[in-house]
Amino acid sequence: MASIPEAPKFIGVPIKRRDDPRLIQGRARYVDDFQLPGTLHMAFARSPYGHAAIRGVDLSKARAAPGVVAAYAGADLAGKIGPVPVAGLVPDARVPVQPVLAGGRALFAGEPVAAVVARTRYQARDAADLVEVDYQALDAVVDLEKALAPAAPRVHAQFEDNVAFRWAIAGGDIEAGLRAADVVIKQKIANPRVVPLALEPRGVLAHYLPGEDKMTIWSSTQVPHKLRTLLAQQIGMAENRIRVIAPEVGGGFGSKLNVYREEALAAYVTRELGRPVKWIESRGENFLATIHGRGQLGEAEMGLRRDGTITALRYNVLADCGAYYQLLTVAIFTLTGLMLPGPYKIPHIEMKVTGVFTHKMATDAYRGAGRPEATYILERMLDLAALELGMDPAEIRRKNFPAKAEFPYATSAGLTYDSGDYHAALDKALQKAGYPEMRRQQAEARRQGRCLGVGLSTYVEICGMGPSAALGGQGWESARVRVEPTGKVTVFSGASPHGQGQETSFAQIAADAFGIAVEDVEVIHGDTDVVPYGVGTFGSRGTVVGGSAVVFARDKVRDKMARFAAMRFEADAADIAFAGGKVFVRSAPEKSAPFARIAQMAYDAIQLPPGTEPGLEETHFFEPPNFTFPFGTHVVLVEVDPQTGEVKILRYVAVDDVGNMINPLLVRGQIHGGIAQGAGQALEEEVIYGGGGQPLNATLMHYALPKAHQLPRFELDHTTTPTSVNPLGAKGVGEAGTIGSTPAVVNAVLDALAPFGVHHLDMPLRPEKIWRAVSRARKGGPA
């Protein structure tokens, strides 16, 4: 009797990425790498002012410059291109119309005022410099609190003040909760604006073919289908005549989950001129005119009993929208409210958000998108509370976790966390860190006059975005799986990964079910003419939702294949198995055929009974019934030099629970990158504005991105609590690191500064800020 072929297993194995060979050899193609003959290059004249009246735009010199083919000012495009699309609004939000080029007023530094199109990149940039704009600089609204003063200049004259929207969320009875508290901790906390800074700037190449009335757009985007739909509406072209290709995309972190002015302009201009039009963002433009992240300034109030039990949390916050909304500007702030209770049992919560218009670029989704802000508030407040109550930061957290048996756990913000075991992650992290030893080390260092600090954060995040009801109807993701006649398998995914590695992990998912090698699976994504309509990659949803769609599509195909095999072997379809490159009858393994043989049969209709639908190709749109809720604990040891204010991260321990892992190697990579970004925000990153609304550090020389030598070796571990909301049991990992790390690092630094009586500083904790606080404290002044 033939032996049963060994069951393959790729899911859960840390196999190396299949997309790497082209990337490490310089053969991958990002938008700017596509060079079509006759391509014209677009460049922009942008407002140097945060707020200015535009009294006139003179394009004559630009038009006369060498190589220039066309030039446009706002007035030239009036009525021809629709406004920049927005979604995810809350009721009664005031919605300003964002034109593709500024009209009478420029509302943020970097706002495009004129576009020029020329034969070469250099000519386009030269000509953009020749655009003469008659600006009258006006007072700008920069500070969130001042923006709401009655005398503040208005960002939008049509609204009576700078309030963009108001939104609130409440659970329980906040006043009763605060009354029940023995202590109430209050703290004003800022979460400053940061720049997502994908290393590849944005870029678009649009090519309209007049003969066919078809347009192809190569865009560095996370959401090709969404871009196509919205762009079609914006430029008034049938959606099905536009093909959007997201080729290799050099990072996004939320910044490319958007539809920007430059994309619409490129699409418009190629149709006007009938030639390919390319725009590649410079890093300077990326700082000014690609969305920023965070941007909250709030007051938090936490009530607790003497034993550390949290009774209530209130958060009143001003949300910096910028001058115009981008796609999800408003929605991001609401995510903070949904996650306000975090991993703790907080019976009474309330969050009131006031969205504020400012003379700045819009804020929008940046890695974590609203959840890091919630976690930051909670984790800071808990440390302040622990200090007040004389408790250990680990104990106060442990005290407030729901027990494992309490899941599914309904929070006061209205979410239901399906699964979790927060104690386990905390315990594991403390053990891995050697927490008591760390504390001893800290005490010893203090005796020697050194400043060591231990910081903790325990978090839960909302991932796998998500049920459609919570996402404007589009929380699903699509996949199509085709078994080719030769037995090769092609997976078409509507998700649009850009560095996360789904070309590998989706192949793992497909290969396992068909019992074939990963090498025999090809994963295609990012082309709207080829893949089913998709939502895209963001919100830690690529694998959770997109991968689940692959599971269902794959299973549909496999079931059909099993029926064909059952016919051939005269067996029951339920008895057909796939393994080792073979399809066989489980109860009679000698009845077997190569996988490719059954595949071929499906396309040779003569071999199929009459009335059978040939072919092996199925599509599935997966709708997740709920979000997923990954969680974890991060523990950080830092040393602060009180003479210079410099911070060195000595150890970084992270225990994350992302559910089942498809490819642990990729999971590690995601967590590393997330921690680095979160630590960057904690210590260095912030967009600093001058009084006129100009960012003062909008270059890589002045905006400090974490470098290799500033980061420690991360010590990672995990617990595994699978979710039941998807067939993979995966919960998503894209944002965990960022969410956990920012508060952990800040808490560590403030723990180090505790002997000076410095208990809170706003991010980023740059040396100067720390040094000043320490100096003040030493002089006996207020911390």
């Binding site: 790497d20 290393l199 590849e200 590695g501 990579g669 680095a676 970004q677």
Partner: protein, 156 residues
């Protein structure tokens, strides 16, 4: 003006404006798009190539300055479609995600190993501080460079 140089072992001649940056010549004229641009201000290192065996940021070199020199780009690091140990180890250790920083990072690492064939972790972290990566948090890059150094046995 005419510029002649040797790119990845091949002699090439171009007619380019005097102000043309080397990175634009390589990408737009020579069609070697493996060299990336992420800042144009000599900070990020994405545009790193080897000029006469030294790592340079090609966004800050004029093409004319490279006249007569030998340039190696990521496409030419390993001849004949083979992988250089650094490339192999970046793949093996998951030293890249979006891959945008990768060509520059690999060539900067090449330079580092040329100077210090057996670097410590600390030396690697400092050695690549002129190259930014937003995706990886650097740890797997450091691992890859260390593994490549071991694979090369202290010899380049």
């Amino acid at each position: 003006m005419n510029i002649s140089l040797c790119i990845n072992g091949q002699s090439r001649a171009f007619d380019a404006e005097p102000r043309t940056l080397l990175v634009h010549l390589l990408r737009d004229e020579a069609g070697l798009t493996g060299t990336h641009i992420a800042c144009e201000t000599s900070v990020c290192g994405a545009c790193t190539v080897l000029l006469d065996g030294k790592a340079v940021k090609s966004c800050t070199v004029l093409a004319v300055q490279a006249e007569g020199s030998e340039i190696t780009t990521i496409e030419g690091l390993a001849p004949g479609g083979k992988l250089h140990p650094l490339q192999e180890q970046f793949w093996e250790k998951h030293g890249l995600q979006c891959g945008y920083c990768t060509p520059g990072m690999i060539l900067a690492a090449w330079q580092l190993l040329e100077r210090r064939p057996d670097p410590s972790e600390e030396e690697i972290r400092h050695g690549i501080e002129g190259n930014l990566c937003r995706c990886t948090g650097y740890q797997h890059i450091v691992d890859a460079i260390q593994a490549a150094a071991a694979q090369m046995g202290g010899k380049r």
